[in-house]
Amino acid sequence: MPRVLLIEDDAAVRDGVSLALRRRGHEVAAAASGEEGLEVLPGFRPDIVLLDLMLPGKDGFEVCRLIRAERQLPIIMLTARGDDLDVVLGLEAGADDYIVKPARGEVLEARMRAVLRRTALPADGTPAAAEPGPAPVETYGELAIDRAGLVVGKGGRDLALAPSEMKLLLFLSATPGQVFSRQQLLEHVWEHSYHGDARLVDACVMRLRTKIEDVPRSPRYVQTVRGFGYRFGPL
């Protein structure tokens, strides 16, 4: 069962969410502030972080950036406001998804599972273990994508991709040249059942480009098709 680090300043919410998650079999560590969360992190080694954006001291964006600087574990923001700027800033800081409070236990669970699934399986949905022998590494220009090992390299160096970035890249590159709408990407990559927030896709594409493109402003690998969506290549 996934280990969850919950960083939330309001005691009642912290207790409520912890209770709900423990009931579902998760191991939960709860921190009341960003600083405390960052202290707990190395020892607890969570599989996923639930991070409240409105925190005393270091706010959620800052904490998100600090975690991202060292690790690529999934981060889900808990936000009291679906306000646009909040969410966008959180996504830019490297969060993989967000949940607007109040949320039921089952919603929390479903979102966490979706984010965790992103890195557990390659894009084609078959377990990596099922493939015999070392999986071939696909190369596209300077990019080397190892689907089985979930490693993406560029020019010989491995890139540190966040879970959503990794899955997005794997999904797009599985069928180079095919255009996907943002809705389709939300459904396949984020597993939002319907009318998800397209900003998740845009923010994730932006972050991905800064990592894999030579010139993020004129992308070569993840291209925008105006009015339709995104595609990988053609190179």
Binding site: D10, A12, V13, D15, G16, V17, L19, A20, R23, L78, A80, R81, G82, D83, D84, K101, P102, A103, R104, G105, E106, L108, S181, R182, Q183, S193, Y194, H195, G196, D197, A198, R199, G227, F228, G229
Partner: protein
Amino acid sequence: MKRPGLRVPALPRLRGGNPQLLRGLRARLVVGFLVVAALSALTTALLTYQEARNAILQRSQDIAVNDLRAQVNSLAPELPVPPSQADLDSLRVQLERSGKSREWDISVHYSGARDGSAQDGDVRDSGDGGLRGDVVIPAGLKASVEKRHVPAFQRVDRSGEPWLLIGMPVRQSDGRASALTIYAQLPLSAEESNVEALVSAAQRGALPVLVLTVVLALLAARGVLRPVRGLRQAAGRIAEGKLDTRLEVKGADEIADLSRTFNDMAARLEESMAELRRLESNSRRFAADVSHELRTPLAAMTAVTDVLDEDADSLDPDTASAVRLISQETGKLARMVEDLMEVSRFDAGAAALHLDEVDVGETIRKTLQARAWQKRVTAELPADVRAGIDPRRLDVVVANLVGNALHHGGEPVRVRLHAPEPGTDRLLIEISDSGPGIDPEVLPHVFDRFYKADSARARSEGSGLGLAIALENVRLHGGSMRAANCPEGGAVFTVDLPLRHEEAGEPADDGSADPPDEAWAAGEPAADDDRGGVRSAAEETHA
């Protein structure tokens, strides 16, 4: 001077101004000035003319009369009594000769007995003056001269020429009246031309005066109109909402008073508007803050409702009911707060559109699927209707309308997507139910916030904000929505959306959405009263 009736012009339309008013006022001022100037010039000229003419003529006739008297006095005593015609003739000739300088015609009357002369005849002779005419003596003059024996004179007009007639009774040396009367007529053309010169001088003077008057009138008009124009522009700016507009107060005349009053008014207006805005933003912020504050405890409660629901079965019945009730109402409260937040965002103009190119039919189908309504709703969703919309917001709209139809209308509920007609760029989504329809009294209010169609209605149907939020979402897309009753029964809600929203991705400010236009395809059930509903919802949200 008869003033033209002052018509108070209607308040000019502020945008574009009203040159009519300016022209009118200027024209009136100029005409007024002109009339006054012309009248005074004319009066002055007339009086001057009369006085001068009288003075000139008076002087010349005095001279003429005195001359004649002197001549007669010197010649008459030598006349034998009774005189013969020859005597009279010679007297006339002598008199005429003495009047060379005057060119007068003389006639001599003798009413007494005389030798062989016609009595009382006007003597007709051809003198040597060029201005000879019949000396016709008017009766009045004749009477005063011959009956009352006083010298008299009269100015007469002969074919446009002024003539002076002088009648002079000759007295005998003892002072008694004699039968002899001398008449003289002389032209006054020289004097007349003097007077003419006066008149033409007056005329020549009048024209520059009138021109000057027009210039002065225009200047005066400008002096009045410039502040008036300033006032009009300032009023226009106030009407546009620039309440900090002030006029410059110059001098201490009525215009300055007016400007001062205007400034006072503007200041008051500004104050009260600021106050209103402050109150409004306070109440908005309050609503937003309240819903925001409610979220935290709700987040804690909502997280554990699953736990309550799971364990309720293992509790004793009373506790189980209580626990289920709490769980259920927590969910409702959470939805209500969510709706309140959404409304606050619309009110604050912070609702943003995230447009995406989607298959509209597919989006609607997903909305129905997500809420497990496929079985209860008949959907006619043509494929490949693509539009640039915000799918999340469209989902909210469709979910609200369908949920509304299922709760308050009656099944079967139908959702129909109409592909845009060729040449138009609008798509229609119709949601109709088979219920009793909407009470005509309720119809205008269906989009109002917290409007309960049936006061006895169970409170469990929702936040009372659903339709208001749906409408706001449609308007954010630049579309419109209306409610009506089908002729064959049941209510029908129609959403009209543009395929492309001009302000793509821009957070819509509160004034950007077009007012609902009534460009509906023919054959639609008419629902004029729906506009009231649309408008009231719009008014609520417009600052």
